[in-house]
Symmetry: C2
Subunit: 234 residues, 2 copies
Amino acid sequence: MKSQGNAVRSAQMAPITVDEIAERIWLSIAERRLRPGMRLKEAELAEIFGVSRARIRQVLTALERDGLVKTEANKGAIVAEPSAEEARDIFHIRREVEQRVLARLIGHLDAEKLLDLFAHVAKERAANAANDQREIIKLSGGFHLMLAEMAGADFLWGMMRDLVSRTSLITAAFRDSDKYNCGPDEHEELLMHLKNGDLQKAQHAMVHHLEHVENELKLSGNPELARSLKDALL
Amino acid sequence: MKSQGNAVRSAQMAPITVDEIAERIWLSIAERRLRPGMRLKEAELAEIFGVSRARIRQVLTALERDGLVKTEANKGAIVAEPSAEEARDIFHIRREVEQRVLARLIGHLDAEKLLDLFAHVAKERAANAANDQREIIKLSGGFHLMLAEMAGADFLWGMMRDLVSRTSLITAAFRDSDKYNCGPDEHEELLMHLKNGDLQKAQHAMVHHLEHVENELKLSGNPELARSLKDALL
DNA sequence: AGAAGCGTTATTGTCGACAATAATGTCGAC
DNA sequence: GTCGACATTATTGTCGACAATAACGCTTCT
């Protein structure tokens, strides 16, 4: 079929932004619709999203910064293929960063922010009830990002965006079950400790939460199981 | 004066790469020739380096990723203005990442790599003796990056590149003396522990080293001293 | 039949020109 | 004289076209 309208997005509507495209791709990776090793051709993406290649190039640069894709000079971009070792590094560093976020947050945390956080967890719960995978993924990452944002620490926020992205990829690559496991219960428990102003317990809950997520992955044994075409075919 | 040759780099020589331009700017920032808050106009940079604006745009994107510049939509890029709090966050995270690097490195470290590391420190010593600031800066960061690279951990290496860049900026912004202080002695001490295969001592030396660097900065008291015009005039 | 060299095609990299936006300066009204 | 609206300028954002490079298939020789 050679098309009648060549782009998915029709003509005169407001063009999609770089961030929106990046999020769409991120979600596709997290949902395992885009698998590690898959090729991301610029022209193809440009057509799909109805934008110029220059836009797509910015998207790919951003995705590479967040560890979701890997680009090689003159060879284009593929969905990144994290190793189990790398996954452990990421979780290790993430635990440290998240603890720092909490330490910085506990200072300037007011009633309003706490309410927003609880409201966010409520949304997570709703998404879980509705079994809306895409929303679950977005909100799970969003919770951790929200903490970093409220902490008012730009550097840590940037780190967290990176780490959340990479965690999404890792989860997509190494979980075996289909249920996404950054559940609202542990988030809420964390919030209770924050509400009480107990940094130590909050940090402990955070570490436990992240270890829980990590332990549900099959990072043991085989370093990386067949995901790309070449791996699948030997 | 309206010029006779409009670019600094003459015509038919091989064009400078994005990475080279980024390094030049990084060094200028680390040497305090470019101060925090200074505006980086694309056209200006394009002229200086004799490349197109598209190239410069890539450079600025990379520099932003490493925390050296901050860009605002439709308003261009300026040299980043780190706060003292941010500086402390960065050192805190850097200590954790560096320890992880060492833990990963200690496994596959052979005689050849160790020799390369000692050779690198020797170069640092030579640069210090010659008082070559630019070389000192490059080699100091390079040592830490070298450790990450030898550890074979891509993720940690990316983190370290980011952290080293940001540390350079912080050092430029907050040190009062002119002598650069990531000295070869402490690097060599670290190597001795690595040579002995003593991870604990190596990590301890690393933490001590980084704390030493941090403590030589004036991060106390005033959150950030006047650097931009608006700060200077209140 | 297999492999190496070559031409073709597909894909990424680069650039210059134009559009959109924000900053600046100017004029006029009160 | 000062404030506000408007025109002008400077700067960034976007795009389409072209160049460079790498992947692929084909032919040919052994």
